[in-house]
Amino acid sequence: MNDTTATTIANKSNLERKTIRRERVRLVLRDKTFLIGALILGIWLFITVFGNFLAPHAAGDQDFQFVSKSPSLKFPFGTDSNGRDVFSRVILGTRLIVVMAFSATVLGTVLGTSLGLATGYFKGKFDMIVMRLIEAVSAIPVLIIALLAIAALDGRSPTLTVIVIGFVFTPNIGRTVRAAVLGESELEYVAAARLRTERTRHILFREILPNVLPPIIVEFTVRLGYAIFAIATLSFLGAGVEYGSPNWGSQIAENWGNIYSNVWWPTAFPALAIASLAVSINLISDSLLEIFEL
């Protein structure tokens, strides 16, 4: 082949590749679904980091002159039956749920990816046994497993909740990764790696893993949305977080009874917070799913 032609082709295709990537980024940035999701999530992440400076009151500040006051300029989200500022408590509750949800999802993704890589690559009996176990676990609702585990381990610590949710997510992520790995491991670059005496670990993490990243990223965002709900629900049920700490789930739990006396704001605002955070993450994952055609 002619040298210059080869070079021009390479340059051209290099350009092409960059255009494709830029195109994808542009598609993502143009996608309204993604933009709205990113905007809402961005606000929440900002609050996560700077919440301490933004909240006008401390979480435990009580003012008995203002008990169950409706939203006003002084208290934008009103006050609860203990005279605490709902606005501040929503802001201060953000960090816990965001950090817990991210940690749990990261843990679940790491475990699930490892499991998926191993089962998809080795197949055979190992795969069969693990998959049957996964199916058995998946048959029980996530919350029940989490509640049972937390009750059995008698833990109210956020760390334990994160670990439990991470484990509960593992099977789902594992299954997604396994499906992708099953296809990849049939491809001949894997045979080529074996033919230069690569260790299995290298084949799994250096050869196959980079090629199955897209579904893993999407699965991560989907699970993140679930994690928000799971953590909020657990704290609503009184499990998973220390009592009295400012967190959305327990705020709802403490105040929902007052809805009947028309004090809706201490319940409504934390609930809206949960919903908007979860929705923002789902919008992002929907948009990624569509653009990466997974």
């Binding site: 390479a10 340059n11 033919l195």
Partner: protein, 676 residues
């Protein structure tokens, strides 16, 4: 039927909108097909063949549009036609047969119901339609139509599925049939049968055919007239005989020259190539589309678009130099490669690899399926052993057993350079692993798409040579440059490379550990013929330079004949014939080899009597008794040894010096019947 051409393209221009920009794929293409005529469109991938086929059905992809010109069906312009009118035409007058029958059929609908849909569209009742299906299937020579009608697509062999697709296409008694690479995925023997069928049906029905293929041999046998497409432009057109005997466009000449054809052999002939690569989609040309790659190029060619020049009766070519094209200088890539690492090789011909009683049974639903049966073969230093046979013959399995990618059954021996190797890869020495490597068929799957070229080759050097990371990168770059992968491409990912370049990277990787033997598993079947020639030349150079031995697997007998010193013909996991390349090709042949050879459509136009193989390849889980070929054997009837053929499996015996065969029929008898 009117006197107007069945199909006429007038200055047709088609563009695809890719990322907001219109890219030209067909450039002022004009041709016409007379009623009942078979017109072939030939060219390499990306030249616009399929676009032309879909345009004829007015069924372009969503981003495709006809920018100017017209398409006339029996004198009627279909470009501006309303959707309902074009649907009426598709229902009653124009049909299409697609390349891949497996995806052309709906996997969830029984064959009978699926074919019946076509009749139902013509207004027949369900029961009338089903009755018609049976006749339609008989017409395409399906032996047991009622049984086939109850099956699903996946239960049919490729040839059978393509017959069903053809039956569906013919159901409307079309006046124009568009066939887009109808036999490309099929085995040679099946391809020959399907082509025979199409020819026969065409004779009966007088349907005009637009036949698309990259295979010049197939085009030569199927078509009355041929058009050659390059970069979306029709560069030459004429009667099939004229095009093949007097090609007048440099591209056509180049295309015909780079095919390894009858009798060429690596020791005496080097393959011609077409320098350069085809232009990217939608490239703009001021002059001739082929100017960049043409050996006869002049300044005029780059600035002025040549008109169609009449060369002979109805034979035209779009070139300023039609008179010189036939005698244009040969394009031979002469750069020699330098990857030699083992200068102290034993002399050519000394035994290198001994495969002894190689067997492999896979377990399927609790049953042992013998995929490879007692295969014994030898490969000498610097020799090429060609493995041929239909799909399912066990060619690739044998390769993987030799390499240790699969463990072989007990009793099997793979002896390399006098050393009996362990059955599986991880029990072998790193040196022995590096000594035998493979080049896979599909470089897209064989190269990790997330890794750079340097990393792909460098890692192999590092592992197989035990070099440091830096040293192996340097060595990888030397190796790649030797294979003519330019330095600017070393940091590229595989997706940025053309098919030929990808395969060069794969070859570089295979040579990373200074191998003594490289298995080439259909290394050129995914490539265009001009690229195939450069890859074959490269392999031959490497062999001459380093004395590397090859096991070369291919379904293309022309390629195998060109590159091989010895040939083993496989059927159902058994070697049925083995010997020097010349002997195997000249005969007397094993009856199976004979049938295989006779099914190849030659580009030299010689008509060989086809020896048909009837029936389908039996399943290896339930092989026939006696000689496994006997239910399909073209020579058993009348041989006088039928009782042996059906009851005793023949052994592989040396019928003449260096020529082994597994057949009960005596050699002289085979010679006699085959020379008749």
């Amino acid at each position: 039927m009117s006197d107007a051409p069945a199909l006429e393209f007038r200055d047709l221009e088609v563009a695809y909108t890719v990322r907001g920009i219109d890219r030209e794929v067909l450039r002022k293409v004009s041709f016409s097909i007379a009623p009942g005529e078979a017109y072939g469109l030939v060219g390499e991938s990306g030249c616009g063949k399929s676009t032309a086929a879909f345009a004829a059905m007015r069924y372009l992809p969503r981003n495709g549009k006809i920018t100017s010109g017209s398409i006339l069906f029996e004198g009627q312009d279909i470009v501006g036609m309303s959707t309902s009118d074009i649907n009426t035409l598709r229902r009653s007058a124009i049909s299409m047969v697609y390349q891949n029958p497996a995806t052309a059929l709906n996997p969830t609908i029984r064959i009978g119901d699926q074919v019946a849909e076509v009749f139902a569209l013509q207004g027949l009742s369900k029961s009338d339609a089903l009755a018609k299906v049976e006749q339609a299937l008989i017409k395409v020579q399906i032996a047991d139509p009622t049984k086939v009608m109850r099956r699903y697509a996946h239960q049919l062999s490729g040839g059978m599925a393509q017959r069903v697709v053809i039956a569906m296409a013919l159901a409307s008694n079309p006046r124009l049939l568009v066939m887009d690479e109808p036999t490309t995925g099929l085995d040679a023997t099946v391809e020959a049968e399907v082509l025979d069928l199409v020819r026969k049906l065409r004779k009966e029905s007088g349907t005009a055919v637009l036949f698309i293929s990259h295979n010049l041999g197939v085009i030569r046998h199927m078509c009355d007239r041929v058009g050659v497409l390059y970069a979306g432009a029709l560069v030459e057109q004429g009667a099939t005989e004229d095009i093949f005997s007097n090609p007048s466009h440099p591209y056509t000449v180049g295309l015909l020259r780079c095919i390894p054809r009858g009798g060429l052999h690596k020791n005496t002939d080097r393959l011609d190539t077409i320098p350069g690569t085809p232009p990217a989609l939608g490239t703009h040309f001021d002059g001739c589309v082929f100017a960049d790659r043409c050996a006869l190029v002049e300044d005029k060619c780059r600035t002025t678009q040549p008109e169609m020049v009449t060369v002979g009766q109805s034979h035209v070519a779009r070139c300023f130099h039609t008179d010189k094209a036939g005698s244009m200088p040969r394009a031979i890539d002469t750069v020699s490669v330098s990857v030699s690492q083992n200068p102290n090789r034993a002399t050519t011909g000394t035994r290198l690899l001994d495969i002894d009683h190689l067997s492999k049974a896979f377990t399927q639903d609790g049953h042992a399926v013998h995929v490879v049966n007692d295969v014994s073969l030898q490969v000498g230093v610097g020799e090429t052993l060609g493995l041929v046979g239909e799909s399912g013959a066990g060619k690739t399995t044998i390769a993987k057993l030799i390499l240790g990618l699969y463990g072989s059954d007990s009793g099997s021996h793979v002896v390399l350079d006098g050393k009996d190797l362990a059955g599986t890869l991880n029990k072998r020495d790193i040196k022995d692993v590096g000594a035998m490597q493979i080049v896979f068929q599909n470089p897209d799957q064989a190269l990790n798409r997330r890794h750079s070229v340097t990393r792909i080759v460098g890692r192999a050097v590092q592992k197989l040579r035990g070099l440091s990371a830096d040293d192996s990168t340097d060595r990888a770059h030397e190796l790649l440059s030797g294979m003519r992968v330019e330095a600017t491409l070393h940091s590229a990912r595989p997706v940025q490379l053309s098919g030929g370049l990808k395969q060069r990277v794969a070859i570089s990787r295979a040579f990373a550990g200074a191998p003594q033997l490289v298995v080439c598993d259909e290394p050129t079947s995914a490539l265009d013929v001009s690229v195939q020639a450069t890859i074959l030349n490269l392999l031959v150079d490497l062999q001459k330079q380093d004395g590397t031995s090859f096991i070369f697997i291919s379904h293309d007998l022309g390629v195998v004949r060109y590159i091989s010193d010895k040939i083993a013909v496989l059927y159902l996991g058994r070697v049925v014939e083995f010997g020097d390349s010349n002997r195997v090709f000249q005969g007397p042949h094993h009856p199976y080899t004979e049938a295989l050879l006779s099914s190849v459509p030659n580009i030299d136009g010689s008509v060989r009597k086809r020896i048909p193989l009837t029936g389908v390849i039996p399943s290896p889980s339930n092989p026939p008794s006696g000689c496994v070929l006997h239910p399909r054997c073209p020579r058993m009837a009348g041989s006088g040894v039928e009782h042996l053929c059906t009851s005793v499996e023949p052994a592989l015996t040396e019928v003449e010096p260096g020529h082994f065969m597994r057949c009960h029929i005596p050699l002289d008898q085979l010679r006699t019947v085959q020379t008749q």
